[in-house]
Symmetry: C2
Subunit: 352 residues, 2 copies
Amino acid sequence: MKKHPTIYDIAKKADTSTATVSRVLSNSDYPVRSELREKIKKVAKEVNYIPNMIGRQLKTNNSMTIGVIIPSITNPFYSSIVLGIEDIARSRGYHVFLCNSHRSPQLEEEYLKTLFEKQVKGLIVSSISPDKNLLGALVQKDLNIVAFDQTIEGLNSSQIHFDYRKGGYMATEYLIKKGHRKIALISSPLTRPSRISVYKGYLNALENYNIEIDKSLIQIASREYEEFERSYEFRNGIELTRNLLKCSELPTAVFVCNDMTAFGVMNELNKQGINVPEQISVMGFDNIEFSEMITPPLTTVQQPDYEMGKLACNLLLDQLDGKIVENVDIMLQPRIVNRSSVLDLESSLLKN
Amino acid sequence: MKKHPTIYDIAKKADTSTATVSRVLSNSDYPVRSELREKIKKVAKEVNYIPNMIGRQLKTNNSMTIGVIIPSITNPFYSSIVLGIEDIARSRGYHVFLCNSHRSPQLEEEYLKTLFEKQVKGLIVSSISPDKNLLGALVQKDLNIVAFDQTIEGLNSSQIHFDYRKGGYMATEYLIKKGHRKIALISSPLTRPSRISVYKGYLNALENYNIEIDKSLIQIASREYEEFERSYEFRNGIELTRNLLKCSELPTAVFVCNDMTAFGVMNELNKQGINVPEQISVMGFDNIEFSEMITPPLTTVQQPDYEMGKLACNLLLDQLDGKIVENVDIMLQPRIVNRSSVLDLESSLLKN
DNA sequence: CACCTTTTAGTAATCGATTTCTATTTTTAA
DNA sequence: TTAAAAATAGAAATCGATTACTAAAAGGTG
């Protein structure tokens, strides 16, 4: 275990005090004779000095560090968000502790606790825990929190919402306007507010256009996500599609609650020899990076993941820097991304 | 700015000293009367004490933190690795600083410096910088480093290699054994040792099976990756496929240097009405999570990303914990993942 | 020139823990 | 019964920085 030079070593070598060394090396505007200033810098460079931020942190009580808690970094939606967060954090001098909760409330709580111990100044969280007490307690303790992805009722923090209901509505309306009437829904379990909202949007749109709701066309996963399970959404899509195809009358379109699941749907349809979009149209939700890469490229609802990450981080750091005092609630709007997985029944009818 | 209770507050309340409080609360095996021990614990719970790790770190010089530097977390190969790293780190009590270098040597250097300032105990790095001096200097300064993905010549650290040459060889050989003779290669620029190795593997296999090398079938990107650019590989695949298709005679198979690029290749082939694998077979490299999700599912070479992350982290922490003293070099072996994007010319010939 | 202000730099306290000493008290062994 | 060993706990030093305070020197003003 080697010992690194400290400001004490530099002070000794430059024949001055630690106070002055600190002033010079931490770019304080406290006046120091330029001659001495240069001498200290020279010595610092000579001994290859690298400041120990732990020492500084203890005194200044500013770790310049934030924590990010997400379900899993391998989900491209979250990895884009994390990239956005990290890009902003770096540009503003902050570092990021990354935490994958694997959708486990226990893990999430453990992380919350250790992040707090490590003196993070702020938190960006996609919370899964039904128990908001811990998160609330942290807010009490003067920890700035920005919640995203999942709305947390009654939490005194800034939140970034996405209009999931509207997204679900727009997606369904889009299919309706393309002439579809038999529109199936494939969804992950309705265990989260966001998913329930998407589902509601689907129902609202059907109602609004006077289309009868056919329960046999609605496939919602019952199997819960297992911690540490990978490719859950994809397999879900496959499974639910199989179920759906068992119903006698095929739908002309399927609205899938997220793109990863939509990949599973398309995979299974393809396996069963059903063409997308000729026989069944597929509409996704999220617009992850891969959605444009598959064949056919997926028509979907855009959730601005990378931008959301940047927004969340800027918001948090603005609060930390005191630029914003009040909590902020931001509602992001969905946008349809038009690609090739949805067939326009109207125009294809005209051709015939 | 609220002030949190410290061991000093607890000592006062429990009518004892900070030394004893510290002994009790940090689970030291220093003997403390069980009566007093309980009293301290009770008081700590009462005031809702949460230890300040910065204070501990300063004294013990152990941050229980490691840094991870990768090009970009949105690349599924790296996100899987990071997940593996983080899962192990957490289970062993460590936290992870995540850093996206965006393949910028400047950013990488900046991160290296700030991570060191933040007193990380170890580093897991996929280095991009051609200048190994800084990394080397950090090794000098008693920082444990595990390098992966990119071999770093002459760096005194543990390294996790992947046998890229063999992977390239196996992929090409696989295509040859399926009866292919006109095998194209599509690759990102040969600016990294790993890519050069894959390329060599391709050439070696052709030579070994006495197949003449046709330069018109070899498409290597000239355009460099731009920092912060997204979906680079995908677009590269599209572009290079267009170039390839300009050569008069179509190949029967394409070997693509990574799966993301292969997605671009398949996308462009599809757009041009060329069926995969009936008209052209596509072989990938990496086996990212999405490779099984596209149509047709991609036959590819497995790089064990998640396992690699776990391995790298366990290796690093074993070194930090003193379980391993010597540097370790691990060479991971490629494995062919057989899916549906490659046609067996032999057996399909038999059918005709 | 005397007084006040500004500049400059060092001393020492401080942040919140851990840990080395030192000093009791209790237990064990002879 | 007494000396040595073990158990117990507090005082104070320490980790590496920052910063409040103090103080000397330099500069300005009437």
